[in-house]
């Protein structure tokens, strides 16, 4: 038997190509939406994986440091180092801000860290790690900063000495690593006017400006101008130690919150991007319904245009099965064209998205199955209409 559906598609290929293209763009959008979600998850995992930490120690009762603000004293890490099972512990700060660069503002997440400690970038794609104590920076390639370039953070200029890749915050902002001390200062530093006013108020305060206590005002002012807080302490456990057990000790004895990598993933993926995921989920459902409606409308109209041929086919002895198979295959053919177009455009336009779009082969396979399922369901209306055609209509009056 010849393939009737194939012949019909070849015969009216223009119609199929155009509808397939339209459907394909819709499928492309769907795959991209899934890719955006996957990208967010993957960014989150990269953020955790690249930090080199086993435990995130943050302020009690917070989901910090990525999902909620968390503030800790910067000498806390010493007491953590005293706990059994803790091999290394290092302070980190996170501060999202605009950085001026080449006459435009770039939004970055400034990470204050100690080179070589947990929280520092582990792999560079160019340049070197920070070696000097101050005013050097390692930037993610997505910032657009060049090696050797000077960038301004608050009141200080920094030199970019190294570049990393795939180091982005949970909301997709590229990371900029600077020495912890600089970051603490930047985090705390108010703009110079505010600073000036603050000092003036201190000096004007008679309670602080007593004779016999020289230097009190000045040291108070300095204390206010530097920070002794950090956002989290990243901990590496000693070999052979269970991260969850160490985390339990930290929670119990230090009155701090400690998260393992798995728990942190849970916070990042389930809590932080849950709303985005639901948003995308709703969007995917709508796209599926719209695609189904379009396919079913197209297949139905195409079938209406073929009722006479279908009556003739029935008259000369075609089985219902043959006719149903023809329509089903045409719907699946349309879905196939649409999927190929959709997968291609999704791949083509993925790099133009500002955030990472991860097109997983598994999603493509699931998407393909969904497209075929939707097309099959969408063809039922047309099939029912075709099967009701009376072969007598081919003979006419």
């Amino acid at each position: 038997m010849i393939n009737l559906a194939g012949r019909d598609i070849l015969h009216s290929w223009g119609k199929y190509a155009f509808t397939g293209l339209g459907l394909g763009l819709l499928i492309g959008v769907t795959l991209s939406m899934a890719g955006i979600y996957r990208g967010m998850v993957d960014d989150g995992k990269a953020l955790l994986g690249n930090s080199g930490a086993d435990l995130w120690v943050v302020q009690q009762d917070t989901l910090g440091p990525y999902a909620e603000p968390s503030s800790l004293r910067d000498d806390l890490y010493r007491s953590l180092l005293g706990l059994p099972g803790v091999q290394r512990a290092a302070n980190v700060t996170y501060l999202t801000m605009q950085v001026r660069h080449a006459d435009q503002d770039t939004r970055v997440m400034v990470v204050g860290m100690q080179p070589g400690q947990p929280g520092a970038p582990r792999y560079l794609i160019a340049g070197r790690q920070i070696e000097r104590a101050h005013y050097e920076a390692v930037a993610d390639i997505k910032t657009g900063f060049q090696l050797g370039e000077r960038i301004r953070i608050r009141r200080q200029d920094y030199t970019v000495v190294g570049l990393t890749r795939r180091m982005v915050s949970a909301s997709g902002d590229p990371m900029l690593f600077i020495p912890l001390r600089d970051a603490q200062e930047a985090q705390f530093l108010k703009d110079s006017d505010a600073l000036h006013n603050e000092r003036a108020r201190l000096r004007a305060n008679p309670a602080l400006n007593r004779p016999g206590l020289p230097g009190l005002v000045e040291s108070l002012a300095r204390a206010q101008e530097s920070s002794h807080t950090v956002n989290a302490v990243l901990v590496q456990t000693a070999p052979g130690w269970d991260a969850e057990a160490v985390a339990g000790d930290i929670r119990r004895w230090k009155h701090l919150q400690a998260y393992t990598q798995a728990q942190m993933e849970e916070v990042l993926i389930v809590k932080l991007i849950a709303t985005s995921a639901r948003q995308i989920g709703v969007f995917l459902v709508i796209l599926a319904v719209v695609s189904a409606a379009i396919v079913s409308f197209i297949i139905y109209t195409m079938t209406l245009g073929k009722l006479r041929e279908i009556a003739v086919l029935k008259l000369i002895g075609a089985r219902n099965r043959t006719i149903a198979a023809m329509i089903l295959q045409e719907a699946l053919g349309l879905g196939l064209i649409g999927f190929v177009v959709g997968k291609s455009v999704a791949t083509l336009w993925a790099p133009y998205f500002p955030k990472y779009v991860l097109l997983e082969p598994g999603d493509a396979v699931r998407g393909f199955a969904a497209v075929l399922l939707i097309c099959a369901l969408a063809s039922t209306l047309a099939i029912r209409t075709a099967l009701r055609v009376d072969p007598a209509t081919a003979i006419g009056g």
């Binding site: 010849i2 009216s12 041929e309 000369i316 007598a392 003979i395």
Partner: protein, 238 residues
């Protein structure tokens, strides 16, 4: 005519459309026989039941009462004997309509081969037979073009080739010459006569066409749901 087994024998065939007050008797007792190799004409005014009779004979519409024998086998007697009218159509009957109704997405050869393919023939054999028929009907040179590139007369010849494809003992033609000029109309009738002789096919041709009526050796009139054989038909040919 002394054949023992007519290709078509119809006795007391009735067809009622609808029920109750809107019921309409389209056939009120039709009697008719056609021998193998015979081409008969069926004429009558509009609405007299010509198409209805063909639909009943062609197992497209179920009659209400009466009996139909094909090749000596009773296929209908107050209900289909053969449980599958579709198979009956596929294996025993060829149809030719006023419009050719060819399948536009198949080429000429595959249109003719289609009934054979539906009956389970291999592609090679079905196409081989299609080419033979196209040659017999003088359209072989158009075997691989698209349907839309054929003239009306060529399309009708392809439709006849399709009706002949599965070598049915019976061909039912409903106004096959209506869209053709008289020369082409006569050509189609000649072809039907030739095919009837060559393949021993019994052919019923429903027509309004004055030009071709004289060509039938036997003619049935149908009026108000009843058939009458025209005793004077075919004299012009003798």
């Amino acid at each position: 005519m002394t054949q023992a087994r007519p290709a078509i024998a119809v006795a007391g065939l009735r067809k009622r459309y609808g029920t109750g007050e809107t019921a309409m008797d389209a056939l009120k007792g039709v009697d008719l026989t056609v021998q193998p190799g015979e081409v008969i004409g069926l004429i009558g005014p509009s609405g007299s039941g010509k198409s209805t009779l063909l639909k009943c004979l062609g197992a497209v519409t179920e009659p209400s009462a009466g009996r139909i024998d094909l090749d000596g086998e009773t296929v209908y007697e107050n209900g289909w004997r053969n449980r599958d009218p579709r198979a009956l159509r596929r294996d025993r009957i060829g149809f030719v309509f006023q419009a050719p109704y060819l399948i536009p997405f198949l080429d000429v050869t595959d249109n003719v081969a289609l009934p054979l393919l539906l009956a389970g023939w291999s592609k090679r054999e079905a196409r081989q037979r299609a080419r033979e028929l196209l040659t017999a009907l003088d359209v072989a040179q158009r075997a691989h073009v698209a349907i839309t590139q054929l003239s009306g007369g060529e399309q009708q010849r392809v439709a006849i080739a399709r009706a002949l494809a599965n070598q049915p003992p019976i061909i039912l033609a409903d106004e096959p010459t209506a869209p053709l000029d008289s020369e082409r109309a006569l050509a189609v009738v000649r072809i039907l006569n030739r095919m009837a002789q060559q393949y021993r096919t019994a052919i019923i041709v429903v027509t309004h066409d004055e030009k071709i009526i004289p060509t039938f050796k036997r003619l049935y009139h149908i009026r108000d749901g009843r058939t009458y054989e025209d005793a004077g038909a075919g004299r012009e040919l003798d």
